[in-house]
Amino acid sequence: MKQYLFCLILCLSGINLFAQDRGLYWKYKDYDGAIALTVPRWIIHTGSWFADEKAQRKLIRKVRKVRVLVFEDQDSPVTKRDVEKFSKKARKRHLESMLTVREDQTRVEVWAKERRNKLRKVVILVREPETFALVSFRTKMNIDEIGQLLKDLPKEFKGKSDKPLLPDNVRSVIRI
């Protein structure tokens, strides 16, 4: 009986894994010119050692997995329909649209999933005629922790400059 139960759990987890993210990243990661990378948690953790500020280190360590897909200086194969499909799928997976900015031909969309007062996933999409970028990261960051981190971060990270934050800054942050 135990073995059956174990098999069932294994099968279900397999299905779950398969269904996790068969979206834009998986469709285009092997395309010509695509820069696609998945950064696992242990690399993120290691990378956090090089951060200068303690608050930054703390913030970095809250990120569990990062996926990046970039097409730069070429016609992106990602179509409008793909993005619409992504939006549909995202909503099904309880991701909610947080912010949409369009300036000239640049579009930035931020999606996020929050459950039980924790930020679980953030997806940022940037579309330009010759650039496409998708950044997706999983976290388990408590909302209160974000407040604490904001408090700990040095002033220059709190966006207290006179320049408008949106949309120029969103673009530059994503390009980094």
Binding site: L99, T100, E103, Q105, E114, I143, G147, K158, L165, L166
Partner: protein, 175 residues
């Protein structure tokens, strides 16, 4: 049975009328949402709710959080390099359902026109609509939620979105 029969169409008519109030402005927004001359910013209710949960010791942030907590949406359509800003302003102006909104503020400074409307139920302001038009600039801003006019200028520091700074005029006018 008869009562229910009559109540249903009345209910349906009310339900249809409520979203229609804001339809003209929404249509105007949607008409230009893909126009590359404009910058479009749209903030969802979820974003406001998420931000309102983040508390810090920072005084400015707390003021911002206080305002944001009761907001449910923000849409901004703005352009600072167009040739027909005044025409667009007049077009948008003609689409404001004046019966639903009450005018809060009107400023005409040279060729720049600023108008702010509010939609309120009793003491609660549900929506704030801002229009700015000058020969080379146009701003349409729609803010929904429970809006406190005394605190709304705090949004300008926190949001830093083009056009939002016009909300400072409410504060100036009140003083």
């Amino acid at each position: 049975m008869k009562k229910t029969f009559w109540l249903l169409p009345i209910f349906l008519m009310i339900a249809a009328a409520v979203p229609a109030q804001n339809d003209a402005i929404l249509r105007f927004f949607n008409q230009y949402v893909e126009d590359e001359r404009f910058t479009v910013v749209s903030v969802s209710p979820k974003m406001f709710s998420l931000v309102s949960k983040i508390s810090t010791d920072d005084e400015d942030w707390e003021k911002f959080r206080e305002v944001v907590g009761d907001l449910t949406g923000l849409r901004v359509l703005t352009s600072d390099s167009i040739s027909n800003g005044v025409a667009l302003y007049k077009e948008a102006l003609s689409k404001v359902p004046t019966g639903e909104y009450s005018e809060l503020l009107t400023v005409r400074d040279g060729q720049e026109n600023v108008r702010i409307w509010i939609k309120d139920k009793g003491n609660i302001i549900d929506e704030l609509l801002l229009l700015v038009g000058s020969p080379d600039e146009f701003v349409l801003l729609s803010l929904t939620g429970k809006i406190d006019l005394d605190k709304i200028s705090n949004l300008t520091k926190g949001l830093n979105v083009k056009g939002v700074e016009q909300l400072e005029k409410i504060k100036t006018d009140k003083q």
